[in-house]
């Protein structure tokens, strides 16, 4: 579905939900008449549940965007690292060469992170927001667990270059015994960003946020 159409449908749905609920606030007599039970069920259960579901879906979808991740100040250096001019820097070379969708740059490689993983990951996602708003962000941000090869193999498994170059150690890589980052060890490099030149063409920018 076209994104704009989806957006209008969503807003219309919420407005209809508000309209029906307001009708109950203004005229509670309506829902106590014959047939009113059905209207009450629609206004106070069906529509609100549908609106909530649509809202959750929309917010989760938008939180996958690079813009969303970089809207937090603490994430700015990670966004900047996508623009460093070094072909061996994994995030930068993936971003600049369009090996990943630029609008989903963070989510593509951190799929099991925060809102997108299991229940514990979702709770952690909300906790991150609270920690951020309380201003208690740690100096150094670390992953909860070592980076999993699964995130690389989403795309690289089955690719010719990967299959040919890693014929000998494929089993170890796929069982996560040997981390991809053992050899491809240049990731975001946020501590030494100042040492690198920038690729000026498509530097990700922080657009809005707290």
């Amino acid at each position: 579905m076209d994104a704009t159409l989806g957006w209008y449908l969503l807003v219309t749905l919420v407005l209809v939900g508000i309209g029906f609920a307001m009708l109950v606030v203004a005229q509670p007599r309506l829902v106590t008449r014959s047939g009113g039970q059905a209207m009450a069920f629609l206004a106070l259960f069906v529509l609100p549940v549908t609106c909530l579901w649509a809202g959750v879906s929309t917010h989760l979808e938008s939180s996958k965007s690079t813009e969303f991740c970089l809207s937090c100040h603490v994430m700015e250096p990670y966004g900047e690292s996508l623009a460093i001019d070094d072909e061996f820097a994994l995030p930068a070379s993936h971003f600049q060469n369009r090996r990943i969708d630029r609008d989903r740059a963070c989510y593509t490689c951190h799929t099991q992170y925060t809102m997108y993983g299991d229940l514990a990951a979702k709770i952690n996602g909300v906790r991150h927001l609270l920690v951020y708003y309380r201003g208690a962000t740690p100096e150094t941000i670390e992953l909860y667990e070592p980076y999993h090869n699964r995130e690389c193999l989403h795309c690289h498994a089955g690719a010719r270059l990967y299959e040919e170059m890693h014929a000998e150690d494929r089993a170890e890589i796929e069982s996560n015994e040997l981390s991809c980052l053992e050899c491809h060890d240049m990731s975001h490099e946020v501590a030494s960003l100042a040492d690198y030149d920038r690729w000026p063409t498509a530097e990700p920018t922080r657009t809005e946020g707290p």
Binding site: L10, V11, V14, L15, G17, I18, A21, M22, V24, V25, P28, R29, V31, T32, G36, A40, A43, L44, F45, P48, V49, C51, L52, G55, V56, T58, H59, S62, S63, S65, E67, F68, S71, C72, V126, L129, L130, Y132, Y133, T207, E208, G209, P210
Partner: protein, 80 residues
């Protein structure tokens, strides 16, 4: 319409009104949260504000359904 027929819906009416009010405010917050879709502010407003208000409203409505007393059976003796 007799008084007994009218009493059950009348008693549940305040619950329905509060339920609807919570839902209206919750959905308004949801609508506002769409304005900050690309930042955690919108997400937090939706998750903590809208979500909790709408869920509370739905909960109150369901509670009103459970609480709603059944109309007493009409006694045949009244017609004697």
């Amino acid at each position: 319409m007799t008084g007994s027929e009218n009493s059950a819906p009348t008693r549940s009416r305040p619950y329905l009104r509060w339920s609807a009010l919570l839902i209206v405010v919750g959905l308004l917050v949801e609508l506002m949260s769409f304005g900050a879709l690309q930042s955690p502010t919108g997400f937090l407003a939706f998750a903590l504000g809208s979500g909790s208000l709408v869920v509370a409203g739905i909960g109150l409505y369901l509670f009103s359904l459970v609480r709603q007393p059944k109309a007493p059976a009409v006694s045949s003796s009244t017609h004697d």
